[in-house]
Structure formats: C-alpha cells, structure tokens
C-alpha cells in the first residue's frame, strides 16, 4: 500500500487556535476551520482542518460522540457547517445540495431501497442522471460483477444475506462512478468473520478503482487494516492524523495510545528532561527512563505508554528500565500467551509473550522482573487529565 501523503505536520492539525493552513496541489477534499454546533452552546466539531488527497483511503476513527460522523455528514451535505469551509476540488461546497455533490455514500444499515430490486437499486443513481437504458443496464451489470453478485439483480434486498446487502450498497455507491465515496460504519452490522472479509474486499475495490474513500468507524482494528491514513477523533478534535504504523508505534498523546491497540499505562511525574529523553518517577517511587514525547518541564505529570509486546519478562540482558512484578494471570491464546502482572502498584499490566519454543514455563504468583527499552516507553500527557 502506498501512502499518498507522506509528509504531514502531525501536531499542527489538531489543536484549536493552532490550525495550520496547508496548500496541497492534489487536495481532493479540504476542511478549513470547520466548526459545528447543534444547540448553539457546545461544539460537536471544534476546529477541523483536514486535507484528503485524491485516491486516498482516509478513516475517521473515534468513539461515539467524537464528531467523526458529523464531519462525514457535513461532507455529504446532510449537515451544514456552523463555521468554516469544506472544499471539494478546491471549490467550496457549503451551498451545494447533496444531490449535486456527486459523492457516493455507503450507509451504516446500507439503506438499500426495500421496494426495489437489487438491479433497480443500482440503476437508481444512473436513472436520476438520465442515462440511456442500454448504458444503465451495462453499468448495473458491471457493478454486480464487481461485487461478485451477477445473478442477484432480480432479488429484493430483503432476500439477500447481510454480506450480500453490504456488497450491493458498495456497488450502488460506486455505480455512477463518483471519485469520492463516503462510508459510515458500513460493516457495523456484520459478524466478525464476514466483517474481516469485507474489509479486504472494500480495500481491493478501492485499490482497483482509485477513488477517494472517507471511511468512518469506531473499530480501530478495522481502521488499521484498511486505511492509508487515520484521523483519530475525540471530543470534536482530531487527536492525531497519520498512517496506521505511526499511529500505533508513535502515538502523540495518551488518548491515541490508549485507543489504538493495547497499551500499558503508568502514571508518574517528570523529574528531568534532556535530549529527547526524560526521567519519570512512578507512583511507587521507582524511577524510569522514557522518550519525551508530549510532556511539560520537570515537575509535570505524565502518563507512560508501553506496548505489551515490547516488554520482556526476566530479560536475558539488562535493559534501561527494570521493575519487579508478580504474575497475576496467564491466558493462553494460541500464538501468544497474554500475561497479566502486578507492577508498580497496578494489577493490569499486560505483557504478550510470543509462543516460541524458547518460552519458559510461568505460573501464577511467580515473582519476575519486567524490562523495556527507553525508546519503547513514551512519556505522554497525563491520561484523562
């Protein structure tokens, strides 16, 4: 997968009052200082600046109420921005009604028209565009073939399985060849296995057609699987906008660290900052070294973030950070053993041990040493603060 926009100022996009205007020659969609309020008292979307490149698969990820769906609806034209501009191909579309925006959309529950057959559903966007009959038929046929349902044209949506409905919904959003497609939690209603299969299918369709996709989900695994870039939303603000690997490995704040993937948190106070590193004293008095990512000066509170797979138990060599712990629980998960430990006064410290032949037997209550490298421990803003 090619990441379309490599360089990006991570900090600049998200914080209020610190918005950066960036010109992008290939910008397909732009949000400029967009704010949205429903009640005139609180902002659902606080100050959004976002460029989406042509052909990009961008996911808006966040918990419910974080503003991601509102952003999508403003882009589709079903909500109007309270302030700011949304630009499509450089032109403001705030006053363009939805049906003139030419944006394909896949809805959460597919919104297939129940009184029409699958073929009629697919033909609908073509017919409202007054295409010729033969043209319509050809395009519908091609769309059905694209989603591998060539025989289903005469059925009604209710006669299809969930996965089939999903495919028809995707085909309908694409059949009129829009160059921008919005998807609002399109896989939410499917079971796990089907969901994963559909993730790949949608991804492949995207790759083959080269359309721009803006995808909304609250499922971080889905976001990581499919996206070129992910915008993590919380509280009406983009917390971080980046590629999946950067998001996972280099979260910029404790919300992102916690929301994407599994994460161990340790609270503490910064005692010294130097050269990109910092010393942090934990709640139980032990001191550790961490990467200084998002902390104030000495004396400020911080939350340390360490990924479970980056921690070693009873490490062979000495690591910069070593703490005493006790095994509280072992869960066998096939490819790895999930180990819960009591460390530094927390009993939810998780370590993933790969199921290799060299794995040593462990048992509950066993005292162990846990250790990690300084670059795997990121000092971030205090969580929940």
């Amino acid at each position: 997968m090619t990441v379309k926009m490599v360089s990006f100022n991570l900090r600049g996009v998200m914080n209020e009052g610190n918005a950066t205007r960036r010109e992008s020659p290939d910008g397909h969609v732009r949000f400029v200082d967009v704010q949205k309020s429903y009640d005139g008292e609180t902002l659902v979307v606080k100050n959004l600046n976002l460029d989406i490149a042509r052909g990009e698969f961008l996911t808006m990820l966040g918990p419910s109420g974080s503003g991601k769906t509102t952003c999508l609806m403003m882009l589709a034209g079903f909500e109007t921005a309270t302030h700011g501009d949304i630009l499509l191909d450089g032109k403001p579309i705030n006053n363009v009604p939805p049906h003139k925006r030419g944006i394909g959309m896949v809805f959460q529950n597919y919104a297939l028209f129940p009184h029409m057959t699958v073929a009629e559903n697919l033909a609908f966007p073509l017919q409202v565009r007054k295409l010729g009959k033969a043209d319509v038929e050809a395009k519908v046929k091609r769309a059905l073939e694209m989603v591998e349902l060539p025989q289903m044209g005469a059925r009604r949506p209710a006669q299809l399985s969930g996965g089939q409905q999903q495919r028809v919904a995707v085909a309908r959003a694409l059949v009129f060849e829009p160059d921008l497609v919005l998807m609002d939690e399109p896989l939410g209603a499917l079971d796990k296995q089907l969901r994963e299969q559909m993730q790949y299918e949608i991804k492949h369709i995207h790759e083959n057609l080269g359309v721009t996709v803006v995808y909304v989900t609250h499922d971080q695994a889905e976001a990581l699987t499919m996206s070129d870039r992910i915008a993590v939303f919380n509280d009406g603000i983009i917390q971080q906008l980046s590629t999946p690997d950067v998001l996972y490995e280099k979260p910029e704040n404790s919300f992102v660290a916690q929301f994407i993937g599994e994460n161990n948190r340790l609270n503490g106070k910064v005692t010294a900052v130097s050269d990109g590193d910092c010393r942090v004293v934990l709640e139980d008095g032990r001191e550790v070294n961490a990467l200084s990512v998002n902390v104030g000066g000495a004396g400020s509170q911080t939350t340390l973030s360490i990924r479970p797979e980056r921690i070693e138990i009873d490490p062979a060599s000495t690591l910069p950070n070593m703490l005493d712990g006790k095994i509280a629980e072992l869960i066998y998960l096939g490819d790895h053993v999930r180990t819960r430990l009591e460390v530094a006064g927390h009993d939810d410290f998780v370590v993933k041990l790969p199921n290799t032949q060299s794995r040593r037997p462990l048992h509950d209550g066993q005292p162990v040493k846990v250790g990690w490298r300084t670059e795997d421990c990121r000092a971030l803003d205090p969580f929940g603060g």
């Binding site: 939805p98 944006i103 394909g104 966007p125 959003a173």
Partner: protein, 429 residues
C-alpha cells in the same frame, strides 16, 4: 425421512424407516406430536371463544338475518294461506275466478280476527301504491261478505276488479322474491313479469349508490391529501413533540360525533363563523354568503374532518418505521429532494396509504349521521336511505336489499383493492 436414511449406514437407516419413532414413554412420536398440538389448539380456541361468540351473536347472525329478509318475505303467505294456495291455479290472464275470491274472503276474516291485515296491506302497497286502504277496509267489512264473493268484493271497492292488483298479489304470495333487489336498483317487474325501469321520477337508488361511491372517493382523496403531510410531519418530529401533536390528531375521537358535526354546522352555515369572517374581511358580500352546508360541500367537509385520523394513523405508523437514511441515500445518489420523496419515500408508504384509503373509503361509504345532519338534499348517502327504510317506512326488506347491495359493492371493491395493491401489504397500525 427417506432422504436422511440414504446418508446413513444401511442398518441404521432400516431401523429408522421400518420402526416408527417413539417418544420416551413408548407412544408413537407422530401421535404424541398431534396430542401436544391439539392441546395448544384447544387452548387457543378457548381463549378466542368469548369474542367469537360475541361476534357471531351481535354481528354475523343479525347481518345474516337482514340479508335473508332482503329476499325472503313470507308475510303474504302466512297471513293469507288459502288465497296463496288458490292463486297458484290462476293463470294471470284475466281476473281470478270465484274460488280465489272466496279463499281471499275467508282469509280476510281470519286476518281481521288476528289483526294481521295491516302487514299484508303494507306488503302489497310497496308494489301497488294506494291499495293499503282497500285491504284494511275489506278486512273491516269481511264479516258482511257473502257469496258470490267476487261481486261482493268488487262492489265494496272497484280496485278488486283490477287484474294488475291480483298479479301483484300473486307475486307477493311467493315467499322468495327478487322484488326488493330490483327496487334497490330502480327496477321493477311490470304486470306481465318483465323487468323494467321504474318511472323516471322515482329512479333514485342507482344514482344514490353512485353518488355515495363518488363522495366516498372524494373524501378518501381529501383525507389522503391532507393526512399525508400531517403524518409526515408527525413521523419526522422528535417523539415528545409528535406525541403532543398526535393527541391533537386524536382529540376529535374524544368528542362525540354529534358534537363535532354540530360544530361544523355552527362554522359553515350561511350565518356561521366562516361566512361572518369572510364578510367582515370584505371578501364576500353580505348578500352572497357561501352555501357550504346542507349540500354536498357540507358532507365532504365534515366527513373529511371526521375521517381524517383514520388516514393519518396508518400513514404515521408506516412512516415512523422508515429511517431517514433512505432519503439521504437517494440524495447522495443524485436524486433531487422531490425525486427522492416521490421515488423512494412514497413507495415505501404504500402500505399505509392503502390501509388509510381502505379504512376511510369503507367508513365513508357506510356513513350515516353526518350526511343526515349536514348533507341537505344532495349530500345524502346510501346509508341515509337504509336508515329511512328501517326507521320511517318500515320497509325492512328494502333496507336489507340496499344493505346487501352496499355490502356486495364493498366486497367487490375490496377484491379489486386486493388485486391491485395486495391486502398483505396493508399496515393498519
């Protein structure tokens, strides 16, 4: 069973096919299942039995009786049995012979005794106007009649010398008669038994039936036209607001029908509120006040108002289940708001439209009180004539025949409706 056994090993399959499956206590499984199902069915039957009985006694039996009355009218043969018997021999060519007159004179004496002559007189008078008093006075004088009865009766009243009257009596002596159904479609049998139209100035029921269907259609159309936007508004508002507005829709149901109808009289009459306002606003002249009541306009306005909730409720219940995403999906696919509404929203409300139309139309076709009060001369419906024959003329057979025709009309419409829309697509609430 056989297909299952195909996939089994031969030995096991054999057992399964030859020996019937048994339940744990040894009874055959099939029998056991039937027993269990029978108990469930019996319980269900007992639960609905009171309602079934109620419907049977208060609805089906009376309707059945009424329908029987529309073609079965045995009064004549019951009150005048000998005359009935004697008339069978009469060929209808000329006046009946002395035997018939003698039998009639005998029957008259009994009828006078039992005071039943009025029933026969009424019966014959339906078909031979003006003969009623001839029967009652003949009965009064019956004790004085002596043979030859033919001369005696004709001497008492010339009308007994009319062959046509005897032809009518012969027809009335048959207990089963199509006469009332013929009358209900403005037809009658002439003295020779041919079916002919009644005189121009008496033709009414076909016209009234057509008018009833026409007015019911107009009222149904108006209810749909007015109810659709209201239901749409109710369905798209937040529940709290829509509940409040729904109470306003249902409010008329809490007032008596008469009160509502009378309120319309106060509003619409020529000295009424609407006319007063129009005059006060200089929109119309005091001398040319609009006549909005005691005519078809009045019937249409008042009935549309009264039946409106019946179209709003099913529409609302259907619209409530249509998520707004369908409209959004249509818009996102390039449909204008109007196209999205017309091609996507409206077709999905068809079950509600159908239910509303059927409810309002059937209620309107059978409506009685409102047209009676505000309909004036040209706003009357078929029900008003059924009521007329039930209450005023006491020609219950005629009322029953009109009712039968109305029932048949509704059933035909229902059948058509089922053909066109499909009754399984109905959603009543």
């Amino acid at each position: 069973m056989a297909t299952v056994s195909d996939h089994m090993t031969p030995g096991i399959g054999q057992v399964a096919v030859d020996a019937p499956l048994t339940a744990a206590d040894g009874t055959p499984l099939r029998k056991k299942l039937a027993q269990a199902n029978r108990r469930a069915r019996l319980r269900a039957t007992l639960l609905v039995a009171p309602l079934l009985l109620f419907v049977l006694i208060t609805f089906i039996v009376p309707i059945g009786q009424m329908l029987v009355r529309s073609f079965h009218e045995p009064t004549f043969s019951e009150v005048l049995p000998r005359t009935t018997e004697a008339l069978k021999q009469w060929d209808g060519a000329d006046l009946p012979d002395e035997a018939v007159f003698a039998a009639f004179a005998d029957d008259l004496k009994d009828a006078k005794e039992n005071r039943t002559i009025g029933q026969v007189a009424t019966r014959v008078n339906y078909a031979y106007a003006g003969s009623r008093s001839a029967f009652t006075s003949a009965a009064r004088k019956s004790t004085g009649f002596e043979a030859p009865y033919k001369e005696a009766l004709i001497a008492a009243d010339d009308v007994w010398g009319e062959r046509d009257l005897w032809a009518v009596m012969k027809r009335a002596s048959k207990s089963y008669t199509p006469e009332f159904y013929l009358a209900a479609v403005d037809r009658t049998t002439d003295v020779d038994g041919n079916i002919v139209m009644v005189d121009d100035f008496r033709q009414i029921y076909v016209k009234i039936l057509l008018r009833t269907l026409y007015l019911a259609g107009v009222i149904t159309g108006l209810c749909l036209l007015l109810g659709y936007p209201v239901a749409f508004l109710l369905a798209s508002l937040p529940t709290r607001t829509s509940n409040l507005l729904m109470i306003l829709v249902l409010l008329p149901f809490w007032t008596s029908l008469l009160v509502r109808t009378t309120a319309w009289i106060a509003l619409l009459q020529s000295q009424g509120i609407i006319n007063d306002v129009l005059v006060a606003m200089w929109l119309i002249d005091d001398d040319s006040r609009l006549q909005m009541i005691y005519n078809q306009t009045g019937t249409i306005i008042a009935m549309t108002h009264i039946l409106l909730p019946f179209s709003i409720l099913p529409l609302f219940s259907v619209m409530k289940t249509i998520p707004p995403t369908y409209m959004r999906a249509a818009r996102s696919l390039g449909a204008t708001p109007w196209t999205a509404f017309w091609k996507i929203y409206v077709p999905q409300t068809v079950p509600g439209i159908a239910a509303g139309v059927l409810l309002v139309f059937i209620l309107a076709v059978g409506y009685y009180i409102t047209p009676a009060l505000v309909g004036g001369q040209d706003g009357q419906l078929i029900s008003n004539f059924i009521a007329l024959h039930m209450q005023k003329t006491l020609n219950w057979s005629m009322a029953a025949a009109l009712g039968g025709i109305l029932l048949a009309t509704i059933m035909v419409l229902y059948w058509l409706f089922n053909k066109i829309v499909g009754i399984d697509r109905l959603k009543l609430g």
